[in-house]
Every structure is written in structure tokens, then in C-alpha cells.
């Protein structure tokens, strides 16, 4: 069955048959010969000196192959890497040396011949700790005299960020001032597959293969080379089937370093699979930012200034991108609104908690939550409709590219059109009537909104904190006319095996079955940045299109030779090369083209054999998807339970290659954003103990806790890349959190309860309603 596809068609995924039959191969599904198993001894304390480690009993247990401590590893591996530019970072060893700084930090490693033995031995290792005072909250940790985590980092300050202009004038006698502290609670990413890896040292070749559940195989390979001093060309990183990432697999982790070292030491493959409880302690967390926000406006509702001081909890160490997350927040705090005077100050602060880093949205949810809440609060203060205040302050369609005064230039957009579409789909005026009628009957319905814009598609050639931002594609035609695509992005659920094949097949006029897309193995894919920051399609498809162009260019030369015409007269349509105006003349099919390119001896003196292209695409800017989300909630006054009655998302991600995949991304994003608003929270007690340490205590929502989503879209192509696409992986998460919270606050308006920090669990709502005792 041949499927002729077009860009923009809903094509079901080509990844799925292996996944729905149980035949996909995730990391832990592989069992190389001689496998050994790694288990880690982790600190039960949030802050302590390590006085001694006694592993004698463990070492004697049958099946135990090695026990490694921080002292040993330190001699063979440099500290983990952070992309920090312009500031010092304290050493972060893969196994703690002398001191631990968060619960779950690894202090010793056991390698044994079975999973169970490794665990038994880890339990037999005795670590003597001297417990130290603990600090878990960023604002407290920043105070003078607070417990200090790292020498030389006064006030536990990792970095201080400033974006924007001098905004003081906006706050001298503003006509209207809204001030509020917004808390983005700490979250755990929780992909369903935890981190897992197999490190295989090849004796005799002095080479390493690391199969690992990662979003960034190429970057990880470079980082491993730097940390472990293994020559880069002797390292192969494979990201096999990866069971979700959401940012938390965009890193180099201690366990990767430990397993590589152990495999080299033992000359055997080393497997490590994180348990979920381990994951909640040792995989990065997200959010944990507190923004003190001030918004100035005129009495007419024109926003004149915005000022943010952000307390950004880094956790105990900086992981790869820890300080880059507040950067992404700071750059877009003004959201979709033209705000002339705006400043963001971000304080990145160490605490005795698991490090924070990228979690779906990464900085943009924090910024968007603040701006979408405070703009709605401004509307309330002025007694105008929250949609009208947005209309008044939107960046206007003729202002693009729009410089947002924080360092970004928004690529394209028409925010009002999208908002109008969402309001119509939602039945906004009708719902306001329903709300009023309900209130008259003692029922509490609220309407929430979020008219977000976000920045993604990391990243432009300049303007990335990490260096150049690009991706790469190789298109290799085969002799028989089939096509193999190698991409530098590393999908793990996003579906580029389908959408990229769709693009290539449509461009060459061949069935999608004739194209296969390979990714995730540094041995056969070109150097690329991987999949994160809604970049896979936004950047990866750019490289793909450039490679398509290169192939077409060479194919035209070949066609000109074969059809005895001028190159300029060659037409390539529906998979057939012909000569312009020569109706009924000689033609060349795509299959014939590929065949002659590799085989025809007549071309020997004239054209180099083969038909293959490698192209890098480095966009000139980020992309800026936007949209309007609206939701209606009802609150049960008896219990404080929140029910989402309706959720509408109208997003604009530019041109869509495969709307089925776009919708899937939006659905998943919505679930995580709604869940931040209502359910999820990483909780530490005052001793730095993780209270939400398993899925019994940390809420990953079920099907019953999430609503039905109604989606629509507008299409404003991006000028930044060849296909005019914008990323859509994070938009749902970014937009939905403030939308839900605005709705709940709207429902509680008559109670005047003030800000309630997320997650808006029913007991919090109920208590707030009781304390104010109704209207």
C-alpha cells in the first residue's frame, strides 16, 4: 500500500506498530552478554559531612564485583558540567566527596552480577554522616547568615541575572499598581520510563558504547568526552526507544559517569535502571521559582511597566542547564503585551534540594503564569473584562518582528485573531451569562484565560547561552529509489519518524513508505542538538528542507544530462523529471533518477556519483508560538473540589506538518500544565526530607482527573525556517497553568480569598472559602 502524503496531512504514526505490539526496544530491554548491575547508595540526609564509608561486608557478598566511592571516582572523572557563562560553579562530583548536599545524592556505587544482589550489597554499606543544618527554600537561603552550601558562594547565590531596561519611571506614581508574589511550586518531570542506561566498554578497542535514555545523544557524547577524558571518536551514544523526557533527560548525569567508569574498570557491560522513588530524588526537578511582581498601568488599562524579582531555586548543584531556565523565564516576562518599561532580576540560589533544570516549558511557564495572572488581576482592579485588557495591550500585528525590551524579537503573530477565535469557540459571552445565573443559585463557576506567547525552537545561531544553535540532516537516496533520512534531533514520542518522512516524501513525490527516518545513534546520525525546547521540528525540519534542496539541485544536473536539456529547463513534479515545454518527451522517474545517479557509467566523466546531502540549518531567531486558552471551572462549595467544565485551546504554531501530532503535543502539554495548577507538588520538610518521594505521594494525574480538551488553531507562518513552523511541544504546558488558576480565582471572586498558591487542592480551596465565609 503506497501512501502519497502531503505536508499538512493527518498521517498516523509509523512508529506505532512496534510500540503497540510490545516489540520496541527501550534501554532496559537489552541484555548484552556478561551484564552487570549498578546500584547506588544515596544520602538519607539533606546536608551532612561524610565521615566514613564502610563497605567491607558488602564487598564480601557473593556476586559483588566492585564498590566505588567518590574518592576513587574523583581521580578518573571531572565534575559534571554546567553551561554557565560568566559565573563560577562549585564542583559537582558524580559521587559525593566529603559532603552531601541533598537527599538522594549518590555516595557509593555497587556493581554486582544481578539486580537483586546489587541492592542487597548497597544496603550492607555503612556510611557515617555528621549531619549539618539544612536550608531548602530559596528566599531563606539568600538571607545573610543562612546556612551556606558551597564555599565562596555568599548568600548561596549561584548567579544573578538582569534583563530589560530601567523601569523605575513606570513605578513613580503609577495610576494603577498591582503587586503580587507568584509561586511556581517545584515539580518532578516523571516520564513513564525512568532514566536507564547500559555502559559497554570495549576492551581491545578502548572504546565506549553508552545506551542511555537521553534526549541529547550527541551533546552527551561531547560532555562525556570532557568529563571522562575518553576521546570523542571512541564514544558511541545511543538513545534507543526513549520513554518520555520532558526535559529531564536533557542532561549529563552522575549515573552515566559512574556506569561508564565501572564498565571500563570491570571490562563488562553495566546496567543501571532508576527506580521511581530514586528518580524523584535524583532526576532533576523543575520550576521552584518565586516571582515578586509589580505591574504599573494607566486608569484606562494601558500597561506602562513591569518589574520582577525572581528567586530561583537551583537545588544543591547546577546541572547542565540549571541557570539557563531562569534566563528563559526572564526573557519573556512581558508575554504577549507591549510593555515599554520592564525589568527582570533573577537570583539563582543554592539550597539542600535536588537540582532543578529543564522541565517542559522550562522558565516560560513561570513567566507566563506571572504575566497571565497579573494582567487578569489588573482587569479585576479596574473592573473591566480580562479579555478587553488583553486586547488593549497586545503587541499589534504590524509590530513584528517585535523587540520585547528584554532581548527577544518575536517573529510573527496576530494575537487578537486567535483570541477572538477562542472566545467564539468557547462561547465566552454565553458562559459569562451562565456564570452569573449559577452564582444567583449559589454555584461557583469561574472563567479563566491565558493569551500566551512563548519562545522556543532553540536556537538561533547566536543568542543561545550554550553556543551555536542548529541542527543537521542527512538525506541519502538509495540505488532503488528508497530514501534514508538521518536527523540530529532525537525524538522520544514526538513522531518525527512520521512527520519528517512526510516532508521528504511530499518533496520527492514518492510514497511515505519509501522513506525511513533514523535518529538517536551518534554512529550514524549527524551532529545535532537533540530534542528539547520545542526544537525538533522547528529546527530539525529546516535542516531537512535544506538537504531536500541540495538533493533536488544535484538531481536537476543529472536530469539535464539524461534528458539532454538545459538544467534551467528541468521540471520536477510528482516524482517525475521532465523538460519544460517538451510535452510527451523523455522523462525520468524518481526511481530512475536514483538508479542512474549511482550506476549509469555514461555519467562517469561528467557528474560525481551518488545522490546524498548533509545540511545544517541554523535559524536566525527563535520561533514564538502563541494562542488563547479559555477554561470554565465549577467549585463545589461543600468540598472545594474543582471540576473543569470546558477547556478550549486555540494555538498558533505556524504551518502544521501533521495536525494529528500537533494535537497530541497540545493534549499532553495541557495535561502537565493543568496538573501543575491542580495536583502536582514536590514537598520537602524542614530537614530537607523529600515528603513526595514516591508516586503514592507525588500526583501524576490519571484519566479521571483530566478534562476533555477542545482544540483549534490559527496559522501564522514563522519567517524563521523554510517550512514556516513553530514548536508546539511546550505551548500547552505554558498556557494552561494560569488559565486554570485564573478560572478558579474568578469562581472565588465573591469570596475575596486572595492569591492561593498552587497546587489548588480542594482542601486549600475549601479552607479559603471557609475563612472568608462567603460573600
Amino acid at each position: 500500500m503506497a501512501t502519497m502524503s502531503a505536508i499538512g496531512e493527518r498521517i498516523k504514526r509509523r512508529e506505532d506498530p512496534r510500540l503497540i505490539t510490545g516489540h520496541a526496544t527501550y534501554t532496559d530491554d537489552m541484555q548484552p552478554t556478561g551484564m552487570t548491575y549498578l546500584h547506588l547508595v544515596r544520602s538519607p540526609y539533606a546536608h551532612a559531612n561524610i565521615k566514613s564509608i564502610n563497605s567491607e561486608a558488602a564487598a564480601k557478598m557473593p556476586g559483588v564485583l566492585a564498590i566505588i566511592t567518590g574518592e576513587e571516582l574523583k581521580a578518573h572523572a571531572a565534575p559534571l558540567v554546567n553551561v554557565a557563562v560568566g559565573h563560577e560553579i562549585p564542583a559537582h562530583y558524580s559521587l559525593a566527596v566529603d559532603r552531601v548536599r541533598h537527599v538522594g545524592e549518590a555516595v557509593a556505587a555497587v556493581i554486582a552480577d544481578s539486580r537483586y544482589t546489587a541492592r542487597d550489597a548497597a544496603e550492607a554499606i555503612e556510611v557515617d554522616y555528621e549531619v549539618l543544618p539544612v536550608i531548602t527554600e530559596a528566599i531563606q537561603a539568600y538571607k545573610d547568615g543562612a546556612v551556606q552550601l558551597h564555599e565562596g558562594f555568599k548568600n548561596n547565590l549561584a548567579a544573578e541575572l538582569h534583563f530589560g531596561n530601567d523601569n523605575a519611571a513606570a513605578f513613580q506614581n503609577p495610576e494603577v499598581l498591582v503587586e503580587q508574589r507568584f509561586v511556581n511550586q517545584r515539580l518532578a518531570p516523571n516520564p513513564m520510563e525512568t532514566r536507564s542506561l547500559i555502559a559497554e566498554w570495549q576492551i581491545g578497542e578502548d572504546a565506549l558504547t553508552l545506551t542511555t535514555s537521553t534526549q541529547i545523544p550527541h551533546i552527551l557524547r561531547t560532555l562525556l568526552c570532557l568529563v571522562m577524558s575518553i576521546p570523542e571518536h571512541k564514544i558511541r551514544v545511543i538513545a534507543p526507544e526513549v520513554g518520555g523526557g520532558f526535559g529531564c533527560k536533557l542532561n549529563i548525569y552522575a549515573e552515566e559517569v559512574i556506569a561508564v567508569y565501572a564498565s571500563k574498570k570491570l571490562g563488562r557491560p553495566v546496567n543501571w535502571v532508576e527506580t521511581r522513588s530514586e528518580s524523584l530524588r535524583s532526576t532533576i526537578h523543575g520550576r521552584d521559582m518565586i516571582f515578586d511582581a509589580r505591574l504599573a498601568a494607566t486608569k484606562d488599562g494601558v500597561i506602562t511597566g513591569l518589574d520582577i524579582v525572581g528567586y530561583c531555586n537551583m537545588g544543591a548543584y547546577l546541572q547542565l542547564l540549571s541557570t539557563a531556565i531562569p534566563v528563559l523565564a526572564g526573557l519573556i516576562v512581558s508575554g504577549a503585551y507591549a510593555i515599554p518599561l520592564v525589568h527582570f532580576k533573577g537570583l539563582c540560589i543554592y539550597t539542600n534540594t535536588t537540582p532543578t533544570d529543564a522541565y517542559r516549558g522550562a522558565g516560560r511557564p513561570e513567566a507566563t503564569y506571572m504575566i497571565e495572572r497579573i494582567v487578569t488581576m489588573l482587569a479585576e482592579k479596574l473592573g473591566v473584562d480580562p479579555m478587553e485588557i488583553r486586547r488593549k495591550n497586545f503587541v499589534q500585528p504590524d509590530a513584528f518582528p517585535y523587540a520585547n525590551n528584554l532581548g527577544l524579537a518575536y517573529d510573527s503573530g496576530d494575537y487578537e485573531v486567535t483570541m477572538n477565535k477562542a472566545m467564539e469557540l468557547f462561547g465566552y459571552d454565553e458562559m459569562r451569562k451562565t456564570q452569573a445565573e449559577a452564582l444567583a443559585q449559589g454555584r461557583y463557576i469561574g472563567i479563566g484565560q491565558s493569551t500566551y506567547v512563548e519562545v522556543c525552537g532553540l536556537g538561533p545561531g547566536s543568542g543561545m547561552p550554550t553556543g551555536r544553535g542548529y541542527d543537521c540532516a542527512v538525506i541519502r537516496t538509495e540505488v532503488t529509489g528508497k530514501v534514508t533520512v538521518f536527523t540530529g534531533v532525537s525524538p522520544h514520542g514526538q513522531g518525527q519518524e512520521t512527520s519528517f518522512a512526510q516532508v521528504v516524501a511530499a518533496n520527492f513525490g514518492i510514497p511515505i513508505e519509501d522513506v525511513i527516518v533514523k535518529h538517536g545513534d551518534t554512529n550514524n546520525t549527524p551532529y545535532g542538538m537533540g530534542t528539547y525546547g520545542s526544537r525538533g521540528t522547528a529546527v530539525g525540519s529546516g535542516a531537512l528542507m535544506l538537504a531536500v534542496d541540495s538533493i533536488k539541485e544535484k538531481a536537476k544536473k543529472i536530469a539535464a544530462f539524461q534528458l539532454e536539456a538545459s538544467e534551467d529547463d528541468i521540471v520536477f513534479e510528482d516524482g517525475v523529471f521532465s523538460v519544460k515545454g517538451a510535452g510527451g518527451g523523455k522523462t525520468l522517474t524518481w526511481q530512475q533518477m536514483c538508479y542512474v545517479a549511482y550506476v549509469d557509467p555514461k555519467m562517469a566523466p561528467v557528474i560525481e556519483p551518488g545522490l546524498e546531502a548533509t545540511r545544517y540549518f541554523e535559524p536566525g531567531n527563535f520561533v514564538y508560538p502563541f494562542g488563547t486558552h479559555l477554561c470554565a471551572v465549577e467549585i463545589d462549595a461543600e468540598s472545594g473540589d474543582i471540576t473543569i467544565l470546558k477547556y478550549i485551546a486555540v494555538d498558533d504554531c505556524g504551518n502544521q506538518i501533521n495536525p494529528l501530532l500537533v494535537e497530541g503535543q497540545v493534549h499532553g502539554g495541557l495535561a502537565q500544565g493543568i496538573s501543575q495548577a491542580l495536583y502536582e507538588e514536590v514537598v520537602y520538610d524542614e530537614n530537607g526530607q523529600l515528603i513526595s518521594g514516591s508516586l503514592m505521594d507525588y500526583t501524576v494525574p490519571t484519566a479521571s482527573e483530566l478534562p476533555f480538551y477542545t482544540l483549534d488553531h490559527t496559522t501564522t507562518p514563522s519567517p524563521v525556517n523554510p517550512l514556516g513552523v513553530k514548536g508546539i511541544g511546550e505551548a500547552g504546558t505554558i498556557a494552561s497553568t494560569p488559565c486554570v488558576v485564573n478560572a478558579v480565582q474568578d469562581a472565588l471572586k465573591t469570596f475575596g480569598v486572595g492569591e492561593i498558591n498552587m497546587p489548588l487542592r480542594s482542601e486549600k480551596i475549601w479552607k479559603a472559602m471557609q475563612s472568608k465565609n462567603g460573600h
Partner: protein, 158 residues
């Protein structure tokens, strides 16, 4: 001290010596090589390891292998013959009911039990029926649609 367990998995009978503490999910994956059954947590919340034992769905991390003596077990690998798909698998494919795919085998096994007990479930009944299975990618909407698709197309398409 190892003990012998004899059971039938996807129509094949196996006899193996196992440590009494071996979790059934590890037995399936490590001993029998049936790696389609996944592990997503350590507290029986996620349901990625859901299989069918004697006609009932079971989270295979909650049982020891030795408890399965004499059991009739079906895993994701046994849902359809090679080259064919079960209607629920068809549903997941048609409705884009999966992204990373990690929860999918458990979700499909649970859906099979749900549809066996209630061939025409409402949306709320489907959501309730898969409450023991977590998905982090899809937001569940397309999983609900996938199960509805399977309910509407119970026969395998020709």
C-alpha cells in the same frame, strides 16, 4: 534457595527455577525475555506492567514469580499474531493514543479487561477503567478515543 515455577505465557508453557523474591515482572522481562511489559514505578501506581493472569488484569510488579505456578498469562506480545493487530492495538494506532509508548502495553492490557467486562463503555467509564494506568504524554484524551475506537470496531479489520 530457588523454587520451580511452571506456567503458560501467551500459549507457551515454561518451567523455570527462580529465587522466591523474584518479582513476576522481572521474571517476564529478564527470564522469559518478554520485554513488552514495562516497569514505571516501585509502588504499583503506574500500571506499565499490567498483564492478564487467568483472565484478570494484574500489575505484574505486585506478584512474585513463584505465585504464578499453574497460571495462564497473557502479555502484550500475546495480543495478536505477528503481522496482525488486536482491535485495541488498532484503536491506539488510529487515534494517536500513544507518544513515547512506554505506558502503552499496560494500557492496552487494561483496556482489554475493561472492554471484556463492558463492551460499550461511556467516556467516564473508560476514564475510570484506566485509572490504575498512568500516561505522561497523551493527556489521556486519545487513549479514551482509542478504546472507544476498539469498542466500535470489535472485529479485526480484514
Amino acid at each position: 534457595m530457588k523454587r520451580t515455577v511452571k506456567l503458560t505465557v501467551n500459549g507457551t508453557t515454561y518451567e523455570r527455577d527462580v529465587e522466591p523474591r523474584t518479582l513476576f515482572v522481572h521474571f517476564l522481562r529478564d527470564d522469559l525475555g518478554l520485554t513488552g511489559t514495562h516497569i514505571g514505578c516501585d509502588t504499583s501506581q503506574c500500571g506499565a506492567c499490567t498483564i492478564i493472569v487467568n483472565g484478570q488484569s494484574l500489575k505484574s510488579c505486585t506478584a512474585f514469580a513463584i505465585q504464578m505456578n499453574g497460571a495462564e498469562v497473557k502479555t502484550i506480545e500475546g495480543m495478536a499474531k505477528p503481522g496482525e493487530l488486536h482491535p485495541i492495538q488498532e484503536g491506539f494506532w488510529e487515534e494517536h493514543g500513544l507518544q513515547c509508548g512506554y505506558c502503552t502495553p499496560g494500557m492496552i492490557m487494561q483496556a482489554a479487561q475493561l472492554l471484556e467486562r463492558n463492551p460499550n463503555p461511556s467516556e467516564a467509564e473508560i476514564r475510570k477503567g484506566i485509572e490504575g494506568n498512568l500516561c505522561r504524554c497523551t493527556g489521556y484524551q486519545n487513549i479514551v478515543k482509542a478504546i472507544q475506537h476498539a469498542a466500535a470496531h470489535p472485529k479485526q479489520p480484514v
